[in-house]
Amino acid sequence: MSVDAAGTETQVAECERQRMDVDIACVGFGPAMGGFLTTLTQQWNKQPDDPAFASKAMPGMPLQVICYERADDIAAGVSGVVTRARGIRASLPNLNPNEIPMAAAITQERVMYLLDPVGASRRSLPLRAADAMLRAAGRLCVKDAAFELPWTPGFLHKQGGLVLSMGQFNQWVGSELMAGGLAQIWPGSPVSGPIFGGESGTEVQGIRLADQGVDCEGTPADGFMAGMDVHAPLTVVGDGPVGAVGQAIDQRVGMPKGHAQREWALGMKMVIELPELGEDSELKPGTVWHTFGYPEPEIFGFLYVHPERLVSAGIFVPSWMGDSSRTAYRYLQHYIQHPALWKHLKGGTLRSWGAKSLQESGQHGEPFLSGDGYARIGEGSGSTNMLTGSGVDEAWTTGVQLADAVVELLRAEKPFTRENLKATYEVARNASWVEHDAEAAKNARNGFHGGVVRGMMGMALAGLTRGRLSLKARIPAAYKQIRAAEDAERDDALARVAASGGHPLHDVIMTARGWPEIPFDGKLLVTQQDALLMGGKVQAMPGFADHVTFRKPELCAACAEKTCIAMCSGQAITQGAGGVPAFEREKCIHCGACLWNCAHSPDGERGNIEFRAGSGGLHSAEN
């Protein structure tokens, strides 16, 4: 047993590792890293002979910038997004959406409150009263069980922006970058953690790649290859909200005072190919719908229309939906069957499907943005704006800001110390619209911890006053947001029903709550396991350790909620022997939901599940 670079206990004894030295080591290829590498490449292209761009790691060569991405392909990103694209367009002024598959300029935005046509949604009394009033008003304001807001609040608007497929956008950016010749992006390369060093032990001196040729516990097996150590004066951390490097740094250096990452959501969506569209179809490319109210009041939804009859439809299941049986896939199936959506989607075919965790703490969860030898960018750095529901453009822009700072420091021949990164990157970020908007959004979602109606009021208050007014809240740790099982005796009985029928428990609980069975059609309404095969195409390279582990199995054995099973997007976590869940990494889509869907904590902050660096995941570029 030893402790790896991330500070995690592993089965690999200290062994000789290959070592490589580069100038900048980057972790995770998403929009933030796209912004960073694009800006760096643009600057290099302007002055390729500038000595600032000469490699110190490999004298005589240009700067050695290497990016390691966990997924098997840089296009295997998840999330159809709608973005204002301010930062993206500033970096790429000649950006033509027609060059990026599935991209479209936004043509129409609507916000809709969805009534419950099924009668199973768990609505509070005030919501029921509101629903009754809307229904009484009849067709004047309710159509297809949906009430369309007469206007889209300014803070939600994405006018002038783009509807994108994240996978296609990443692929497009990645190929432009690689053709540029400065940066190398290596997919299929999970990074197990940072290499810490220095006097304080908090200096990041590079990264360690995950060991290969190990069994599920990480013990060396056939073809063992110790993960290489990549040393660099600067490590750029853009591995997202559940990335191993970001997590390890947070654990080692802690969070700024008063900051904690406690608010999360799971975004799950389908890419659907629509049947033929008539001339009068409402679903023109670039159409954006924001919805709320259904399938549960806490669940927000969206529908984005891409070119060529493709639609992204999905939901967000937030951590503050304290239901211990919360789940995403079945709710998503009910969501797309809501009459307002189903009249367009019926007859469609599932082309792709996926899910990802979203860090929704905003500034409350902002970590130290830089330290000796490293800087944080993108969603893992708390850049997502929870008022506007926007993350890609913000992430991209933080990457741009860091690249500008790096070039400045290279030209000044200054080292990548915390002091220097703070004086350049952090100063630029703090002065930018990203931070300005984040400040306005800081407390926008506080109200949801007191209920949906209070949450909506708080969001409107913060949105309409640009953050000057907001509701106060004490935000509990994610594990504390999960309520205890409502009726243990009933759930025990349902658990027996689930076990005997081979169904997941949350599925049985939803049926017991009155949700109708899904009328599977084999094309769009398919079982979750079929979605893994039809839409997401999950695969994992052999020879890597399990990346989901249970820290204290005794806590799992005594756990009644088992929310990790209910919220597992790939059904990779299932009931295991002795009450400890079983994990199948071949089915994991790396959404990271298990990290924050655990009702028990050994340390009072983090749940009982460890989410490490792993190989594989979704093989779909249409997300």
Partner: protein, 270 residues
């Protein structure tokens, strides 16, 4: 002195077979829907041949390995970021179209021309490797045609193993019916081997191998010759995907033994 081989692997790129593939008829004939949108991989059969080729080269110092690949440059570049981490090779890319069902003769002619022009290639030492099938739309003849065009008459298909001998001859295991192998002994190179899956596991991703390969790959991609595949003699009237057989039945009361028994009956009834 140990034998030295010049191994050339012909491997195209195909949409990741894990994607939903849907044939469509476009203006240029049949193709796959949204093919440019789908992530690409090295054709899995040919990828096996690349790993086998690397093994041959590793065992025979002084040998060389080229990878000849035809596809859109941007897609090739993306695929190379994965393949380059696995084994060392020199890439000879040909910037050509993806999609559709090109005439195998046109493809073979282009690849033959490329191979013949490989700098430093000794055709007397040539082992031409490739896949005997394709994950998407293999004509099943391209490799043979290249061999013919290069004047190589010793050809093997469905190869799972090659064993080089000290006298320069080699033994080949080819798949035949009934799950058996045919053993052949060939007097020596040049030869064409269309590989089945081989026996080697997919090599681990080695970042250092990747970095070393990229020094040659990026310049090669920048210089890649652009070709058009003019196959105007071949017309497809229709194409379809192999039918998938998937029968699901929920059984609540059958014992594991009974399920196993039923499976055995089903398998043996074939």
């Amino acid at each position: 002195m140990a034998e030295v081989f010049h191994v050339v692997v012909c491997a195209g790129i195909v949409p990741d077979p894990l994607q939903t593939l849907e044939p469509v008829i476009g203006p240029n004939g049949p193709g796959l829907k949204n093919e440019m949108v789908l992530p690409a991989v090295l054709d899995p059969w040919a990828a096996s041949s690349l790993y086998e080729a690397a093994q041959v080269v590793a065992k025979h110092p002084g040998s060389k390995l080229w990878l000849v690949s035809l596809g859109p440059k941007a897609k090739l570049q993306q695929v190379m970021m994965t393949i380059a981490q696995k084994v060392s090779f020199e890439l000879m890319p040909v910037d050509g179209p993806i999609g559709g069902f090109p005439d195998a003769h046109a493809t073979a002619a282009t690849l033959t021309e490329t191979i013949a022009a490989l700098p430093g290639l000794d055709r007397g030492r040539l082992l031409l490797f490739g896949g005997w099938e394709s994950a998407t739309r293999g004509a099943g003849v391209t490799l043979q045609l290249i061999g013919e065009l290069l004047g190589i008459t010793d050809q093997f298909q469905g190869v799972d193993q090659i064993e080089m001998r000290a006298d320069g001859s080699f033994e080949v295991l080819e798949r035949i019916e009934g799950g058996k192998h045919q053993i052949s002994v060939c007097a020596g190179v040049p030869a064409v081997l269309g590989w089945a899956t081989g026996n080697l596991a997919e090599p681990r991703n080695n970042p250092q191998t990747g970095m070393a390969n990229m020094r040659g790959i990026m310049p090669a991609l920048q210089k890649a010759k652009t070709v058009k595949l003019e196959g105007n003699t071949l017309h497809y009237t229709s194409v379809n995907l192999p039918a998938q057989q998937r029968e699901t039945r929920v059984e609540k009361n059958l014992s594991a033994d009974a399920i196993a028994q039923e499976l055995v009956q089903w398998i043996t009834a074939e």
